[in-house]
Each structure stands twice: as structure tokens, then as C-alpha cells.
């Protein structure tokens, strides 16, 4: 192998221009938090501090919501739909112009490989704004009534795995439908959201239509519980999603929730094995496995299991783990110390419960947070590693004999976000796709995303869809659903 090693190809940090500190983005300006508290955001690949970030407490949340409310009543609901759309087009274009800068900042703050932030996160985020921009003056044709109305002020809370992309998934449909927003990025990855605030300024977006407040779970809870928001849009863990559902149960607030997953990736005996192996790798190791829809349970038909595993191990040995800024890197840093701890904890349960661990030989950097690509074989359905979301580069491998057993095992989970099917038989794929209880089914592919394609889960993976025509409904008032 050593003959074919890649030379390092580092992306430059110079383009990043990260300020030493950031305030909260309220009322179209960066303001200091009322109590002057702040926290640090670090590069998880090096543990160096990137910037000091304002911490929003209840008072700041209240200011942000008031500002969003006033923008909703006085400005945004009076802005003609066509013009709302044009602001979104502007935002999409500015994101494209500044794509390289955004990619670098995303990688520095998140730890994901620059190849992924450059080729996936940022272009998709821009595409999301561009796609939704066009809906602004066409909402009456979207199938949600002749006079679709916005919901009002939306509180949005996003995770750290795709910071800018999740922001786009939240803000684009909200704005296009005429809502104003208060968005809270994740504690460990606030930078691209703050950069996005500057994009809003550059785009001339009316002040207060978008407000961005940084903080932790307490900040998020204050936003969810603020009496003057009309809707909560949340992406994150099922545990927090349920807590949100409880805390709004006695209110008029609506919610869309994109929560956890434990996706089955089903490989049938008639699959094109080499392609399936690529798909398995993409399914679980993309973005360090920090993906709610990751194909974290591999279900292989028994008679091809040996072949699949052998090829999978060979392929995993070629995964390059290390500096996220290197354009050749496949697997970057784990986003935080806390997440790394969780991966260690749950994988140790895999060892203790009798599953067999395997990782290719790979040297992990001494600084930062790292976890090697890992598979567990001999996993049974009752093992924690087969039931709980690990949110790391860890794959649990199970086998099945008949297609019916494969489906049974695939559906044996409280989650229902996504699933994968690998087979060369069209009828079998459509049969399996119909049986699988999941909101997104990738057949002979995995982890594909598009603004035109609705995304969201069955069962405890959440409420509602994001993206596509279906995603709009979460931001429009219903004709027939009674509000309290």
C-alpha cells in the first residue's frame, strides 16, 4: 500500500476570517448578551479555540423572540411573496459565492472532512435556499389551500452534525412561507450560523426576520418554552424531541421534529456486492457516522455475508482517517469530547454483550477527538449497539436468511427515519421499500439528500417532513386542523 499513499493536500485556513468573538444576532445586528456570558468553540481536530461565542440566556431569548415577532407583524407578513423569494435567491447566491469560506469554517468548527463540507454541506445548503426561493410566490399551488398563511414566529434548534445545512433546512422553508425565525445553532458548532447572519446582512434581508442566538440546551429550552413562539422546529435526539413534545403539550405551539434513527441497510443475495460495499461505507462512515439517517445496522443475507464482510474490511482498510482539512481525508474528527465519550461507552457495551469488534489498523492523531472506523459482527437484535443510536463511525452487522426475516429485523426498532436496500431485482426492491417502516428509502444508494426530496421519519424518528413540497406544510397554517 505504501507505494500508493496520497501526499497531503491541505486546504488553507486563510480564507476563514474567524472573529475572536461573536455576539448574538438579534434585530439585524450583533449584540452582546445581556449578562455578558460567553463560551468557547473549538476545532475538534486540534482542540484549539476558534472563537468566543455569546451565551444567550432567557432575557436574550426573549429579546430575540420579540424582535422576530415585530418583524413578522410589521415587515415580513407585508412583504410581497415575490420579494420574499428574491431575498432567498440572494442568500442562495451569496452562499455560493462564499462557499469555499463556509466550507473551511464548517470543517474547522465541526471536524468533518473538507471534501464533505465542500462537496455536500455547503452546495446543498445553497441549493436549499435556491429551491425554496421559487416557492415563495407559488404557495397557493402547493396543495395546501388557496390562501396559505404563515404560522408566525418559529423557534428553530439545530444539531452539530450538518450545521449550515440544517440551518438551511430550517430557515429556507420558514422564510419562504412568510414566517420569521429565532434559530439556535448547536453549542459546539455555532460559527457557520454566525457567518450566515452576515449573509443575511449582505442580502439586505429586513432586520429581525432572522435572529440567531447561541448557547446550550438551556438556551434551547428557553426558546421552546417562550410563550410567543408559534412553532418549534427541532432536529436532534429522540430524547430531546420527546421532551419538547411534552413541554408544548398544553400549548398551541406546533412542532416538526427530525429525530434519531437506527437505519437498516439491507443487502440481499442478488445485490451487486462491490456497489453494496461502497454504499455500506458511505452509509455509516459519511460524516463520521454523525448522521441521524446513517445506515448503522447492516443486515446481510446469510449466504453472501462472508463475501460482503471480507470486501467491507478490505474497503475499510483504505479509509483515510485524520486531518479534516486534508482534501484526501475520508473520516474526520469526532465533533466533541462528549460525543466521543458516548461512542466509547456504547461500543464497550458491544464488547461486553459479546459482539466482535473489528477496526482496520489506523493511526489516530494525538490531539483532538478521534474514533476509528469500526464494525461489530455477531450482533444480536437485543444488543444495545443494535438498538441505540451510536452517532459515530460504528456499524453493527446482523444477518438474515429470508427476505421476510430481513424486513422483520429491519423494522424491529422504535426508529423509522431511513433504510437502505441493495438488490438487482426491481420487483424485490419495490416490495422491500413498501414493507420498510421508514420515511426515506435508499435503494442501491445511500445518504442522498436533495432540497426537492422530502426527508423525515416514521415512528419515534419524528414529526413531519423537511424539503420538497411536503416540507412546506410544516410552515403553513392548516385549513382544517383546529388550533386551541
Amino acid at each position: 500500500m505504501s507505494n500508493f499513499e496520497y501526499a497531503s493536500a491541505p486546504e488553507s485556513k486563510a480564507i476563514a476570517n474567524i472573529a475572536t468573538s461573536y455576539g448574538l444576532f438579534i434585530g439585524g445586528k450583533f449584540v452582546d448578551p445581556r449578562k455578558g456570558k460567553s463560551f468557547e468553540t473549538i476545532n475538534p481536530a486540534t482542540e484549539e479555540v476558534l472563537s468566543k461565542i455569546g451565551y444567550a440566556d432567557k432575557l436574550d431569548v426573549d429579546l430575540a423572540v420579540k424582535s422576530a415577532r415585530s418583524a413578522f407583524t410589521k415587515i415580513w407578513s407585508k412583504t410581497p411573496a415575490k420579494e420574499r423569494g428574491k431575498y432567498l435567491y440572494r442568500i442562495a447566491r451569496i452562499l455560493q459565492e462564499r462557499a469555499r469560506e463556509f466550507a473551511v469554517v464548517e470543517t474547522l468548527d465541526n471536524g468533518k472532512p473538507i471534501r464533505e463540507s465542500r462537496d455536500t454541506d455547503i452546495p446543498l445548503a445553497a441549493a436549499h435556499f435556491f429551491y425554496h426561493a421559487g416557492w415563495a410566490d407559488k404557495l397557493e399551488y402547493a396543495g395546501f389551500g388557496n390562501k396559505p398563511k404563515p404560522v408566525g414566529v418559529v423557534g428553530q434548534i439545530i444539531p452539530w452534525n450538518f450545521p449550515l445545512l440544517m440551518l438551511a433546512w430550517k430557515i429556507a422553508p420558514a422564510l419562504v412561507a412568510g414566517n420569521t425565525v429565532v434559530l439556535k445553532p448547536a453549542e459546539t458548532t455555532p460559527l457557520t450560523a454566525l457567518l450566515f447572519a452576515q449573509v443575511c446582512q449582505q442580502a439586505g434581508l429586513p432586520e429581525s426576520v432572522v435572529n440567531i442566538i447561541t448557547g446550550d440546551g438551556i438556551t434551547g429550552a428557553a426558546l421552546v418554552n417562550h410563550p410567543d413562539i408559534n412553532k418549534v422546529a427541532f432536529t436532534g435526539s429522540t430524547e430531546v424531541g420527546k421532551a419538547i413534545a411534552r413541554s408544548i403539550s398544553a400549548t398551541n405551539k406546533r412542532a416538526t421534529l427530525e429525530l434519531g434513527g437506527k437505519a437498516a441497510n439491507l443487502v440481499f443475495e442478488d445485490a451487486a456486492i462491490d456497489e453494496a460495499v461502497e454504499g455500506i461505507v458511505n452509509g455509516i462512515f459519511f460524516n463520521q457516522g454523525h448522521v441521524c439517517c446513517a445506515g448503522s445496522r447492516l443486515l446481510v443475507q446469510e449466504n453472501v455475508a462472508d463475501e460482503v464482510l471480507e470486501k467491507l474490511k478490505a474497503r475499510m482498510s483504505l479509509i483515510r482517517v485524520g486531518d479534516p482539512m486534508d482534501k484526501n481525508t475520508d473520516l474526520g474528527a469526532i465533533n466533541s469530547k462528549e460525543q466521543l465519550k458516548r461512542i466509547h461507552e456504547i461500543t464497550k457495551s458491544g464488547d461486553a454483550e459479546g459482539a466482535n469488534r473489528w477496526s482496520p489498523e489506523c493511526k489516530l492523531p494525538s490531539k483532538g477527538f478521534w474514533y476509528p472506523p469500526t464494525i461489530f459482527t455477531g450482533v444480536s437484535q437485543s444488543h444495545r449497539i443494535a438498538r441505540e443510536e451510536i452517532f459515530g463511525p460504528v456499524l453493527s452487522v446482523l444477518t438474515f436468511r429470508t427476505p421476510a426475516e430481513g424486513i422483520e429485523k429491519a423494522n424491529n426498532t422504535m426508529y423509522g427515519l431511513s433504510a437502505g436496500i441493495w438488490s438487482d431485482k426491481g420487483a424485490k426492491i419495490l416490495w422491500a421499500a413498501k414493507q420498510l417502516k421508514a420515511g426515506v428509502i435508499w435503494s442501491n444508494t445511500f445518504n442522498k439528500f436533495d432540497p426537492a426530496s422530502p426527508f423525515g421519519g416514521y415512528k419515534e424518528s419524528g414529526w413531519g417532513r423537511e424539503g420538497g413540497r411536503h416540507g412546506l406544510s410544516g410552515y403553513l397554517k392548516s385549513d382544517v386542523k383546529a388550533s386551541k
Binding site: G241, D450, V480
Partner: protein, 280 residues
């Protein structure tokens, strides 16, 4: 001496049969004229669990029946109801104390509601589904699917229409239902179940419980095999409580205005998006 009427025993409807409550309990229903009408069953938690088991067992058969087939069965329900209109009219008059004319209008509207939702069964998919033009060589489409088991708290009044308006969209979607009848006006729901039992509707697709709504609601909220709830017949306070406990399995819980609308069907469906590469 005039002939003595043969009165009906009002029982539960679970898995296609008409059992009494396992608890042996009943409660008294009086008409608008304060005279005794019947002692319907006072369903227990165990009856609810049995109803959910029946609904769950029926759910894949019903969800996987062709939409055309489901549509025909919903239409068949309307046909059978039409033939039994008089019985519903008498029951409504007795219970609600409304005029014969008003009861007749209610029954007709209930029958027409079945016909309306019958027609939706095979059209939802093209109205609510989509082919999505993604940026890449993929075929990508979205289609609605039944949620699973849905509990329906029927509206109290109008006593028959309040049942049909909530129940029809739920089963049109391909869900199985556990209907909790109105506590004060439960009889049309039971009579309706006699219609359902003879309309080719597979056993277990609809199960009907009568009893105390306040007793059953918390068990509905915490039952992990119930996927959705229409809270039409609940008070705001009961609705809040069911939303609180229903968060444990993220139940889809809705209240609708008293109108027929495809969103009533779609709210108890999930949208599934399927990707496949295009290429040779």
C-alpha cells in the same frame, strides 16, 4: 296486551365480534326523554388492550389491500347504512331528542361522508404523492402510507355523524382504528359497528369501545402500539394530558374542525420517499 319489544343488548365490537366488557361493567343510557334506553358496556383498560391487539393484527392486511378495494368497502358501508337508515334515525331521535327530519338529515350526511371518503382511497396517492426532481441521476418519489393503529375519540354530537366524520378518514388511509364512542351518545357507534361487521370490512380494522372517556383516555395516551389519535371527543384538558403522555412514542395527535377534508386522512399517514439510481 300489546307485543313486548325485543330490545338490543349494546356490546363492544372487537376483532369482528361483539363481546361484553371483560370487566362485566355496564352503564346506563337514558334518552332525551329521560327514559332508560340501554346498558352499554363500560369498557376497561383490558378491553382497550384487546382492541389494540385486534387492530394491530388487522393493520397490515388492510394497509396492503388495494386502494380500490378499500374504496369499495367504504362504499359498501354507505350502502348498508342506507338500508338501515330507519334504525339510525330512531336511535338519534331517542338519544338526542331531535326531530325525525333532523335525524334523517344527519344519517344522510353520514352516509354521504362514507361515499366521499370512499372516493379518496385511490386518489390520495396522486394528490399527495410526488415525483421529485432531484439534482442527480436518481428516480425519486414520495408516497403516503398508513400510520398503523389510530385511536379515535368520536365527537358527542351529532351522535352518528360525529362518529363517521372522525372514523372514515382514518380507515380510508389504510389504518386500523380503535373508536372510543361518545360517553353520553354511544349507541349509534355500536349500531354502526353492526353495519361495519356486514360490509366486508376485515375483522379488527375498526373496533368500538363504549364507556368512560376519562377512564380510557390516559390508557390510550400511554399505549405504545397506538400511533395516532383524533381527539375530537376529548376536552381541551384531556387533549393536553394525552399529548403529554403520548410524547412517549411521539403519537400523531390531531384535532380537526368539523368538516370533511383530505388532510384528515393525510394527517394519519406518513410520507415515504424512495430513491433509486438511473443508469446502465
Amino acid at each position: 296486551m300489546s307485543r313486548i319489544d325485543v330490545n338490543k343488548t349494546y356490546k363492544l365490537f372487537i376483532g369482528g365480534t361483539f363481546p361484553r366488557s371483560e370487566s362485566g361493567r355496564v352503564y346506563e343510557i337514558k334518552g332525551a326523554n329521560k327514559k332508560f334506553i340501554a346498558n352499554p358496556a363500560l369498557a376497561s383498560r383490558k378491553d382497550l388492550r384487546d382492541a389494540v391487539v385486534a387492530a394491530k393484527s388487522a393493520s397490515s392486511g388492510w394497509a396492503n389491500a388495494t386502494a380500490f378495494n378499500r374504496g369499495q368497502i367504504l362504499y359498501r358501508i354507505a350502502e348498508i347504512m342506507q338500508g338501515r337508515s330507519e334504525q339510525f334515525i330512531d336511535e338519534i331521535c331517542l338519544l338526542e331528542g331531535v326531530s325525525n327530519k333532523a335525524a334523517k338529515l344527519q344519517v344522510e350526511e353520514a352516509i354521504d361522508t362514507w361515499v366521499w371518503y370512499s372516493g379518496w382511497c385511490d386518489k390520495l396517492y396522486s394528490v399527495s404523492g410526488s415525483q421529485n426532481q432531484v439534482s442527480g441521476p436518481f428516480y425519486n418519489f414520495t408516497t403516503p402510507e398508513a400510520l398503523g393503529v389510530v385511536a379515535v375519540f368520536a365527537e358527542s354530537k351529532p351522535s352518528l355523524l360525529g362518529v363517521v366524520r372522525t372514523l372514515a378518514p382514518v380507515i380510508a388511509a389504510g389504518n386500523s382504528a380503535v373508536l372510543i364512542a361518545s360517553e353520553s351518545y354511544p349507541l349509534p357507534a355500536i349500531t354502526l359497528s353492526e353495519v361495519l361487521a356486514t360490509s366486508d370490512l376485515p375483522a379488527g380494522v375498526v373496533n368500538v369501545l363504549t364507556g368512560k372517556v376519562s377512564e380510557l383516555a390516559p390508557w390510550v395516551g400511554s399505549h405504545m402500539e397506538i400511533d395516532g389519535v383524533d381527539v375530537a371527543g376529548l376536552s381541551k384538558k384531556q387533549e393536553d394530558e394525552i399529548k403529554l403522555v403520548g410524547a412517549d412514542n411521539l403519537k400523531r395527535i390531531h384535532r380537526f374542525s368539523a368538516t370533511n377534508h383530505p388532510e384528515r386522512i393525510l394527517s394519519f399517514m406518513e410520507h415515504k420517499t424512495i430513491w433509486h439510481p438511473i443508469g446502465i
